[in-house]
């Protein structure tokens, strides 16, 4: 009994000793660990300093600028990621050979690369290429050259190249709009980059995101334009062909959907000629076509006879002449106005009806009726058609055109305006005014962007501007159809669609204000189609065609309008006759 008790006592002593030993060992271990931590923190070994002191990595989270899309949602301009190649000369392994290594990887000349490194603006940042091709970026990544880096940046891509360049515009290096729609719609397209801060472990692997120092990126909003790229393409091609055929200084063309006011196409071509004395120029287009001004909105021109329907409608609406009224238009050389001004006609018809005056584009007939209107009546009528005001279609630097002020308005102005002179209009103003004849006498609200909501359409309907009565609009359309059959417009007649239109041939004004060139012209043609239920209005202006090749509006610009009408209506699925 006693020995058993002693055995048990010895056993428990051993256990206690072991337990004490274990506890003591644990305490010693913890003390050692604490000591090591203290050593690392207080004394700080250099080789651990880099890992402990810089665990955070911050970078920009790039956002995407909004897309520009066309009427059918095709992409006109979109942003994608590109890479800028840079070198940090202080981190390069072998400065003597880095240029050769880079040139071997991506192509290029080593001496040029060396120069870029030498002429760098910052000691640790030398840009070698602002934008690499995708394969070049892949090669650089794979090469793992020390001191060579790829900096992501946004690149604006225009899949259709220079199509509608002046309408679309371009962005600068900082990806903000510089011109055209990119600039006008900057507030909608603009993006906001975010910021991403990540805590990394010793092997630079991401551990966690620092929520306090991280902001989400915000992409820009897409903008849908009313331009249809297919229509734009053949308008641009046809216009360019006409400009080169007639060796003109340039040309402009617009296709307008007259009921909705949507601009389907807007083309502007310049053709610098070696003979000099060109009155049209836009040198910045040599840098980038998208930086050029949009001459359909910015450059007014004298419309010539294409303006006659405007005055004809105004006079008819005011009851100054009836369509069947016979006017004393001359059979001789010229007509003399009440103030002694001589008005000449291209062809002499003798006395004709007011209707025939428009069909045959008779200057003297227009002057006779214009004298029946007061100066205020003429001026107000022209203003009602939107001239002297911007169309506010959403284009940068739009011009309001030029109209003689009320104070300077004379009898000469009155009779000149009747023939489309002494007034300068933009192509946008012209199509909008002509569209009144394709509608119910009201002007459409021109727009370059798709409507946001049906409420926009309702608001536009309520605030329509009336240019002339509905009956007069219908009458003008009828007379202009006759002009296409019997008048100057017959050269532009379409076999597929019935059109109503008017040609114009105006002398080119001298840029110094000293009158007109005697043998240089602006040839234009404007038409609507189909006649029964007009859908589009098309205007073509050919600036300063070479006289020896042709200068009459009906022959130079008329066929362009006809071809554009044919192709556009076919594309839109309108049945031909």
């Amino acid at each position: 009994m006693v020995s058993h008790h002693h055995a048990r006592l010895r056993q428990s002593d051993r256990a206690a000793a072991w337990a004490s030993l274990f506890v003591g060992g644990m305490i010693l271990l913890m003390l050692l660990l604490l000591g090591r931590v203290a050593q690392l923190k207080v004394l700080g070994e250099a080789r651990y300093g880099r890992i402990i002191s810089a665990p955070l990595a911050t970078r920009t989270h790039l956002a995407r600028r909004g897309d520009l899309r066309d009427a059918r949602n095709r992409t006109i301009a979109t942003s994608r990621l590109g890479y800028r190649l840079f070198v940090d000369p202080t981190a390069v392994q072998d400065p003597q050979t880095i240029a050769v290594d880079i040139a071997a990887a991506i192509g290029g000349v080593p001496t040029e690369i060396d120069l870029k490194i030498l002429n760098r603006a910052s000691p640790r940042y030398a840009v070698i290429e602002h934008l690499l091709e995708d394969w070049q970026a892949d090669v650089i990544r794979a090469s793992r050259l020390r001191g060579v880096g790829l900096e992501p940046r946004l690149v604006r891509h225009r899949p259709h190249g220079a199509l509608a360049a002046s309408v679309v515009g371009t962005v600068g290096r900082d990806h903000t709009g510089l011109s055209g729609s990119e600039h006008v719609f900057e507030s909608r397209l603009a993006h906001r980059d975010g910021r991403l801060t990540v805590l990394r472990d010793a092997r630079r692997r991401p551990l966690r995101i620092d929520a306090q120092d991280t902001h989400a990126a915000r992409n820009g909003r897409d903008v849908q334009l009313t331009i249809d790229l297919v229509v734009q393409q053949f308008v641009q091609e046809r216009l360019r062909e006409a400009v080169h055929r007639y060796n003109a200084a340039g040309g402009r063309a617009i296709v307008l959907r007259c009921r909705t006011g949507e601009i389907l196409a807007m083309a502007d071509v310049l053709n610098p000629r070696p003979r000099g004395e060109d009155v049209y120029s836009d040198p910045v287009r040599k840098v980038d076509p998208a930086l050029g001004r949009n001459r359909c909105a910015t450059d007014p021109y004298e419309p010539g006879s294409t303006f006659k329907p405007i005055v004809w409608a105004a006079a008819t609406d005011l009851g100054k002449a009836e369509p069947q009224e016979i006017l004393p238009t001359p059979a001789g050389q010229y007509h003399r106005t009440s103030r002694g001004r001589r008005i000449r006609d291209t062809h002499l018809y003798g006395p004709v009806s007011w209707r025939t005056v428009l069909v045959r584009s008779i200057n003297s007939g227009m002057a006779i009726v214009a004298e029946r209107m007061s100066h205020d009546q003429m001026r107000e009528s022209v203003s009602r058609f939107g001239f002297g005001q911007k169309t506010r279609a959403g284009l940068a630097s739009e011009s309001a055109g030029l109209m003689t002020s009320a104070r300077d308005w004379t009898h000469y102005t009155q009779t000149s305006l009747a023939m489309g002179h002494e007034i300068a209009v933009t192509p946008l103003q012209m199509v909008r005014a002509f569209a009144a004849f394709a509608r119910d006498g009201t002007l459409p609200t021109l727009r370059l962007t798709a409507r946001d909501t049906p409420a926009d359409a309702a608001a536009e309907y309520r605030f329509r501007q009336r240019a002339c009565s509905e009956s007069t609009a219908r009458l003008v359309r009828e007379v202009l159809r006759e002009a296409m059959l019997k008048g100057t417009g017959r050269h532009a007649r379409s076999q597929h669609y019935e059109m109503f239109g008017k040609s114009g041939t105006a002398q080119l004004p001298r840029p110094d204000g000293g009158g007109y060139f005697q043998d240089r012209y602006v040839s234009s043609f404007i038409a609507g189609a189909p006649y029964q239920r007009p859908l589009i209005v098309v205007l073509c202006v050919i600036d300063d065609p070479q006289r020896s090749r042709g200068h009459w509006g009906a022959r130079v610009a008329g066929p362009v309008v006809r071809d554009i009408v044919d192709r556009t209506l076919h594309y839109l699925g309108v049945q031909s006759r």
């Binding site: 428990s12 206690a16 989270h61 994608r80 992501p152 692997r205 790229l229 393409q233």
Partner: protein
């Protein structure tokens, strides 16, 4: 007595290990989340690139070439069927 002491140490050790394990799991979840966020950004950039390529390949002239290859005759959708003159 020693057994109880041992038991306490074991339990405390187990608790500490569990806490360390939970901490490690949390760190791994954060790391996974951070990696996923970066992958999202990379996928976004890939999407931009694909959008740009699709836009380039769906140009009118490219489509005409594709239509020519397919053969047959093509006609536009009639105007009224396409929505007429609705904006």
């Amino acid at each position: 007595m020693s057994a109880k002491l041992l038991a306490v140490i074991v339990v405390m050790g187990a608790a500490a290990l569990t806490l360390l394990l939970i901490r490690q799991l949390r760190i791994e979840a954060s790391a996974c989340s951070a990696r996923l966020y970066q992958r999202l950004i990379e996928n976004e950039h890939t999407e931009w690139k694909l959008r740009s390529e699709i836009a380039a390949r769906s140009r009118a002239d490219e489509l005409r070439r594709a239509m020519a290859k397919l053969g047959g005759s093509w006609a536009p959708i009639p105007f009224e069927a396409a929505g007429g003159d609705q904006p």
